[in-house]
């Protein structure tokens, strides 16, 4: 059985073709999902890609969470479907209540695009099993509102439950609390991160191919489920 991953396009989504390419590089079929869709076309997992959904003039992700397709994603995610939110997708998953906390304006107030080292802190999520524990990977980060914020109790709980999946190393690009770059849901099926693994699938067009591991991890998770 071929695994199928849906990639959502909202008006203003930018990295959907990149996410679809990354899915294909992992030998998974990419299925495009439109923000107005009322079904998920039978996909096995969903990527919510980066960009500026609906322009993000209010607050990043604040409108997108109300899109018809997101209602389906929330239902499916609660039922255990793997979901990956990248950048704006992470913001949307937080706004939709699938992940705790919020992303706020970068500490220096500028948009920052740079190659960033991350440490993989949890290799048991649906999106990170292909990495060695503690592995350091190089992927682009690019955002204006990427500083992860949550109250101390939430941060402590995330750390305690091993839900901090990625941490910035070699410099925090945006002022995220505790250098957090990505987190997961309690069951490890939903992962959100600000950096862009889909831009690091080939060292020709990205800083490395370290990001491909996330999509290959999903392939394992989906094929394991089918087997």
């Amino acid at each position: 059985m071929t695994a199928r991953i849906g990639v959502i396009t909202f008006p203003g989504t930018l990295d959907d073709i990149d996410a679809a390419r990354a899915v294909k590089y992992a030998d998974i079929e990419a299925v495009s999902l439109w923000h107005g869709d009322h079904d998920l076309k039978g996909v096995d997992a969903v990527v919510v890609p980066g960009g500026f959904s609906y322009g993000d003039y209010l607050r990043a992700g604040a409108i997108a969470r109300f899109a018809p397709v997101m209602a389906k994603v929330v239902d499916a995610a609660r039922g255990g479907m793997p979901v990956l939110g990248i950048c704006n997708g992470f913001q949307i998953l937080c706004e939709a209540g699938l992940l705790p906390g919020a992303l706020v304006r970068n500490h220096k107030l500028h948009f920052v695009c740079r190659d960033q080292w991350l440490r993989v802190e949890n290799t048991s999520t649906a999106w990170t099993t292909r990495y060695e524990p503690g592995a350091e990977i190089l992927v682009p980060v690019k955002n204006g509102e990427g500083a992860y914020m949550a109250d101390e109790a939430t941060l402590d709980a995330l750390e305690g439950d091993g839900r901090v999946v990625f941490r910035y190393v070699g410099g925090n690009p945006n002022g995220s609390r505790r250098d957090i770059a990505g987190i997961s849901s309690r069951d490890g099926r939903i992962v959100g991160l600000m950096p862009h693994p889909e831009h690091a699938i080939d060292a020709l067009t990205g800083p490395s191919d370290d990001g491909l591991g996330m999509f290959l991890s999903a392939l394992d998770a989906l094929q394991g489920a089918a087997a």
Binding site: I17, F52, Y57, H110, C113, E198, T205
Partner: protein
Amino acid sequence: MTTLDSVKHAESTPDTALPWAELGLKEDEYARIREILGRRPTDAELAMYSVMWSEHCSYKSSKVHWHYWQENTTEEMRAKMLAGIGENAGVVDVGDGWAVTFKVESHNHPSYVEPYQGAATGVGGIVRDIIAMGARPLAVLDPLRFGAADHPDTKRVLPGVVAGIGGYGNCLGLPNIGGEVVFDPSYQGNPLVNAMCIGAMRSEDLHLAHASGVGNKVMLFGARTGLDGIGGVSVLASETFSGDESGTGRKKLPSVQVGDPFTEKVLIECCMELYREGIVVGIQDLGGAGLSCATSELASAGDGGMRVELDRVPLRATGMTPAEILSSESQERMCAVVKPEDVEAFLRVCRKWDVIATEIGEVTDGDNLVITWHGETVVDVPPRTVAHQGPEYHRPFERPTEQDVLRSATPDLLPRPSTPEELRETILTMISSPNLASREWVTQQYDRYVRGGTVLAQPCDSGMIRIDEETWRGVAAATDCNGRFVKLDPYTGTQLALAEAYRNVATGGATPLGVTNCLNFGSPEDPGVMWQFEQAVKGLAEGCRELGIPVTGGNVSFYNQTGDTAILPTPVVGVLGVIDDVRRRIPTGFGNEAGESLILLGETREELGGSEWAHVVHGHLGGTSPEVDLAREKLLAQILVAGSRDGMVSAAHDLSEGGLAQTVVEMALIGQTGARVVLDPDLDPFVQLFSESAGRVLVAVPRSEELRFTELCSARGLPWRRTGVVVPESDSLEIQDVATFPLDELRTAWEGTLPALFD
């Protein structure tokens, strides 16, 4: 407003005085409008003529020199062009059925008044030009010029401009792959904000702006029309930018338009879907001069006749007059011509993307563009007289006498560093100077990764993107201009700009194919400036002929001056190249192979006139610019492409501002690898390190390929010199008999400057 100034009303009130002078028209121009129409214009017609006959839209001061383009474009050069000067953007055939369109435009004056929005809408405008050719926009580059880096106003202008370019471009999902950031006091009150966009399409999908086919419908789509930017073209881009209330007794919004990148992003995707469905006959973007420009250009490029019902235009302000609607420069709007049977399909695609679309008129079999307002005719004009038959000035031009003084003030007697210690200090001073320091503070505010096809971007010599995922075909682009060289000699200086952009494209391994430009100059009313301009156009046209690549289009920006002082003449030249497989692109930093030799291609002469060293260390500008040898540049490019194709070159970086010292430092820092440089014992080390002779590239060559590569150079007659070795295990750069620098020391010097100035 009490009475509508309809054509009928104008005929019955022939003596009504109109504010033609306030709208920037000269007396004889107004007389010509009256002659064309056989009556006085209505206020709506006057608004149209005044914006379309402005310097910005009509090129009235510059077009007298355009014969240079015609004379210097050979049939062979023309054969590569699918569309050229006069279209929204030039188009070249890059092979495999792909056509690439590219263009640079200026948004200088708005960006000084309101840096963020000025720069943002500059990106928006050039992107719509590319869409209007039928292409998907794929990348942007931004050539920028600012006043002195440490001037307080630069701290206002630069961060705003950079944030505006990023804020708009990042939201469109277009990778920013290059450009320039140059500081010089001459740009203090007049920064240059140029924007270049590249787009690609299948050759058969080329869309030209024309409205043919009687009965076809004129569709306006995108944002609503508001009061922003009214008079922007005639006032802002011409003689003054003091703002204008234009006597209607109503306060206008600021003349700088406000951009909405989300609307533009949606508009891009909407246009792409319309093109895929094949339901667009002709299309035109609304930029400077808004609907005046779009309707008159569409009509005059078609069969001539068009009827537009202006009251159907969706507005975002109440009580707008026909003249205001026609001259509004509200952003993110396009105008398409569609067959009647396709209107429903057109509206369906627009609805999918939540884009407002309105049928505002149709193509007629008449000769005139007729615009009505609630049934009454307010415009009835031959469209070509508006769009293409504006005034043409034969402005006087004369080489200024100060030019001799400037050229005789050579840098020969300036004190030079001579001891190793002085050379060491000079290298550190130079690499940390504002024009040579790392641009990362700027470029990290731009998304260079989106769409996943970026193969080279800043700090490389050129940007390169893959355009075909199956074949790996790609295109490269670079923009360049050293205004100091142009000031010393406008003809040679412009050819040096061309040579550098051409070389930068080849340095990445691509073959240069076509040229665009953005000619930024002072007041055309100054004969000295006009001489610079004439020399620049001539130099560029003749240079392109020698290189065999056509000028496909361009843009002119005059009146770039503060008081009577013009900017350094800045003809920014953009060169586009093609590479059949982006996997063979040449990176900039060395250290990619186990053992590499450094080979300097080209000849180093003592050429320090207009150099960065004279500017940084002595604040000096004088003497002669470096020599330009375009035949040599062509040979150099061929060698680089051959080196890339046969895997003989593992890194390459052009020598320009700052000379060899700058180039080797950057290659080491970008590659994070040490090296040992051995200078020629027979030549002054200072000259070798800082001369800015053209036609030079430093390449890293794998040891195994060295003999084959150098034999190729010798056989083809390209001078080369083994200049050192890459030392992978070393973390320092040694310049033998001069100094050894830990890479960390160089990095601190190179990277610290812009953050210290602008954070």
